[in-house]
């Protein structure tokens, strides 16, 4: 029978059946949506951000960025927080908690001053929320008293965190904006203000395309457009970087992290877990594919844990952190030459083109056989391995130490998918 492991994990003292949550966005915008997502297997929801401010949205409001026939590598949105009345949102949340007591309800809120933050926190508690998340990070609010403008000001973050934690005992999570050089500064401010958790990232300010027909960005709203948030697969590497930096910060020790940004598959989820995020949130992949993606998140992670002998999700947390080190500490004593499997090679010559034009002219092209031949120029950068279209055709081969360097054991990755 299909393998299902116990993926449960505690997050800020709340038992979650698995680490997979909807992130605050339209995917968790009303009762029916969240109920459907629960039935599909999601453990909880960060409900669409509620404010006293009710958003007035533009149309259209989305665009996507692709590459070589693959759409949605990245996704741009111009939405703000909920466009529904404040009370209605809390009514939805109360009903959800009543009907699905074992699912985890996080109320995501955003105020424009301390009173609003307090008021929203109290309403969240009354609605039965298990946790509260503060949205300090929406990059396209129509008011500068809210969103990422607040999130990039440590003082404001701290003050609003204090406002919330002064009126509720519920653990508070501060959601960070990536539109900042050092996220750890506002994150520390949030913790000083009483936040128990940090979630990251919200969307990245972007322009996906310029439309040459209307001479503005996409999407075109009455001939104009704005800079606004980018999300989806393209932002995962950036989200992972912030996650690692937060997790490695001594001053943030004990702060529970929730990872967000481009999660589509269990592999993506695993990457955030291995960087120490004990909770995971998803929006764009759900917007593109639906709640059903949770089935393969659960199944895929179960199989991975089973295969590698992990009993609990907890055991995965932060496993990769010790091996992410500053660039100056890397072992630079060797190079690994690529090995070409001529039985697999189809003779496209892409490795040759890339090595010549983008690397070190280390591949000669055997014009007769139409096959690459490595010469002495190779520095072991592995551009060829990255560009070759055939699975396991170019692989890491011979290990060579640089002249005069200390020789020793070297850990090498050999399997590439």
């Amino acid at each position: 029978m299909a393998l299902r492991k116990d993926l449960s994990i505690d997050y800020l003292g709340v038992k979650c059946e698995n680490p997979f949550f909807l992130s605050s966005s339209p995917v968790g915008g009303n009762y029916d949506m969240v109920a459907k997502s629960y039935e599909a297997g999601w453990a909880g929801v960060f409900f669409k951000t509620v404010g006293i401010f009710v958003a007035d949205e533009c149309s259209p409001r989305f665009d996507n960025n692709g590459k070589e026939g693959l759409p949605w590598v990245g996704f741009k949105n111009m939405e703000q927080i909920s466009d529904k009345p404040t009370e209605l949102n809390f009514e939805y949340m109360a009903r959800l908690k009543r009907d699905y007591p074992d699912k985890v309800l996080v109320s995501t809120i955003m105020g424009s001053d301390e009173d609003e933050w307090k008021q929203l926190a109290k309403m969240s508690e009354q609605a039965g929320a298990d946790l509260i998340e503060g949205n300090f990070s929406c990059p396209q609010m129509t008011s500068h008293a809210m969103g990422s403008d607040v999130g990039s000001s440590p003082d404001l973050v701290k003050r609003y965190c204090e406002a919330v934690t002064s009126v509720t005992k519920l653990p508070f999570i501060a959601k960070m904006t990536p539109n900042i050089t050092n996220m750890n500064i506002p994150a520390r401010a949030a913790v000083q203000g009483g936040a128990k958790g940090i979630s990251a990232i919200n969307t990245i300010k972007s322009i996906t395309h310029i439309d040459p027909e209307h001479m503005t960005a996409m999407p075109v709203v009455d001939g104009k457009s704005s800079i606004s948030g980018y999300s989806g697969a393209a932002i995962r590497p950036i989200a992972l970087r912030f996650a690692a930096q937060l997790a490695q910060d001594e001053e943030l020790k004990g702060v529970e992290l929730s990872g967000i940004g481009g999660i589509e598959t269990w592999r993506d989820a695993l990457e955030f877990l291995l960087l120490g995020c004990r909770n995971l949130q998803v929006t764009t992949a759900i917007m593109q594919y639906g709640y059903r993606i949770v089935e393969d998140l659960i199944s895929g992670l179960s199989h991975f844990m089973d295969e590698r002998g992990y009993g609990r999700v907890e055991e995965l947390l932060g496993r990769a952190l010790p091996n992410i080190i500053p660039a100056e500490e890397l072992n630079r004593d060797f190079r690994i030459l690529p090995a070409f499997d001529y039985r697999k090679c189809v003779g496209c010559g892409r490795c040759y083109v890339s090595c010549f034009d983008g690397a070190h002219q280390a591949i000669d092209w055997d014009e007769k056989k139409r096959r690459p031949v490595l010469n002495d120029n190779c520095v072991g950068c592995h551009l060829c391995l990255n560009v070759c279209p055939v699975q396991a055709c170019v692989t890491p081969g011979e290990l060579r130490f640089k002249e005069g360097r200390q020789q020793g054991p070297v850990t090498m990755k050999t399997q590439y998918e």
Partner: protein
């Protein structure tokens, strides 16, 4: 000049996918809401679901979907006429061409083996009731798997040495490697199903004897194995074969048909005829021609199989029916054909003539007092019920010869009917 493919008897006719190419193909899938591919699979294999798992990098989950829904999903991946089922229904046809569902299924089942997965396990709760399945072809295998999952103690009785039915003794190994069939059969064994091979029910052991041994219900998936030769002169000559025997000998001898360098004529227009022709060719025959009495349009063979035969350089002659086989010293020399137009005729020199002119069941009355159709197939109602309350039948022996996947679908339905009957009996006893 046309390019004729050269291949060995047991070399796979179509290459498989790698992780990367499987992902590329899965990325073409539209991930449909109410996936029409899934709705179109008679056996409920649910391709929409397993392709989604591939897409989301979960090949193990994909393998579970296939194996749980269609216990012989490996064989189906190779031989299903997808263009009549899932691939024909694929929404992507509205854009360009369907997703290669069969090939993706093959990749998934390969992953099951590479990853050493054991997906099906005997259920914890056993019913302590025995059921016998007659024949180890697709219908019985599917029925047995469902019954075993429900907790019944199932024994499959198979007349031959190996399980698989047509999968093992019919279809050419280029289209279906034996390893794939064996992997499927191993999954069924993994459920705790027992195999009594080399045991022909009705000859080696009677149904009544099995009843006495405590078997509470019987499933007949005996297929169509009567050797069929046309009622014409000369079929007793050496070199004249019925399709089923010809294919079986080829598989049992691993391709030693003795046809190397010789001329073979195959008579028929179905998949079986194509398999006989490709088997003859792949086992070394110098010249192979298929003769069919009607037009290509009327031929029941799948176009993919016809194209595969043509790709090997086999010629197909239509509108010619056999009149007699002529030989000397008891050996075949030529086959004489008459044209459908009434005027044409042909004498075709041949060392071997294989007749693939439709299949029929063996005498099923030897097993039990069953109601049969004129063709000799078992008369059934919904769920494979026969005139005998404890006997159920499905697959070729009941439907007269369809496809592997339909045999699976019918076998599953019969299993449900058997469960229903036995559960009812059990409750009755409990009262």
């Amino acid at each position: 000049m046309s390019k004729v493919a050269k291949a060995r008897y047991a070399a796979a006719a179509v290459p498989g996918f790698t992780h990367r190419t499987a992902m590329e193909e899965a990325a073409r899938c539209l991930l449909c809401h109410d996936a029409p591919c899934s709705a179109a699979c008679p056996a409920g294999t649910d391709p929409g679901r397993f392709i989604r798992s591939i897409r989301f990098r979960n090949p193990k989950g994909a393998a579970e979907t296939v194996r749980e829904n269609n216990v012989i999903g490996g064989s189906c991946a190779w031989v299903c006429p997808y263009d009549n089922f899932c691939e024909e229904a694929c929404s992507r046809c509205g854009i360009d061409r369907p997703i290669e569902i069969g090939r993706l299924q093959r990749y998934v089942v390969e992953q099951e083996q590479v990853q050493k997965m054991k997906i099906l396990k005997p259920p914890a709760k056993k019913k302590g009731v025995k059921v016998a399945c007659v024949g180890a072809g697709p219908a019985s295998l599917a029925c047995a798997a469902e019954l075993a999952k429900a907790g019944y103690a199932v024994t499959i009785f198979e007349a031959e040495e190996k399980a698989g039915g047509v999968l093992t003794y019919g279809i050419t190994p280029a289209r279906l490697p034996q390893g794939v069939v064996d992997q499927d059969v191993a999954a069924i064994r993994g459920l705790g199903v027992r195999f009594a091979l080399h045991t022909r029910v009705g000859a080696d052991i009677s149904l009544d004897a099995l009843r006495e041994q405590g078997f509470a219900a019987f499933f007949l998936g005996a297929g169509l194995w009567k050797a069929q030769l046309p009622d014409i002169e000369g079929t007793d000559l050496a070199g004249v074969y019925a399709a089923s025997g010809f294919l079986k000998t080829a598989r049992e001898s691993r391709g030693r048909t003795g046809l190397a360098g010789k001329r073979a004529v195959v008579v028929g227009g179905g998949d079986v005829a194509m398999d006989c022709a490709t088997t003859a060719k792949l086992t070394g025959a110098a010249h192979v021609a298929v003769y069919y009495r009607r037009t290509l349009e009327e031929a029941p063979a799948n176009m993919r199989e016809i194209q595969y035969a043509l790709s090997l350089g086999i010629s197909i002659v239509t509108n010619f029916a056999p009149v007699r086989c002529v030989g000397a010293d008891g050996k075949l020399q030529y086959v004489e054909f008459k044209g459908r137009d009434g005027n044409s005729s042909a004498q075709v020199a041949a060392d071997a003539a294989v007749f693939a002119i439709g299949q029929a069941p063996q005498d099923m009355r030897q097993l039990a007092d069953l109601s049969l159709t004129e063709k000799g197939t078992v008369k059934t109602r919904s769920g494979g019920k026969t005139n005998l309350p404890d006997v159920f039948a499905a697959g070729d022996v009941a439907n007269g010869g369809k496809t592997v996947v339909e045999a699976v679908a019918e076998g599953k339905k019969a299993a449900a009917a058997i469960c229903k009957r036995l559960d009812a009996l059990h409750e009755g006893r409990g009262k």
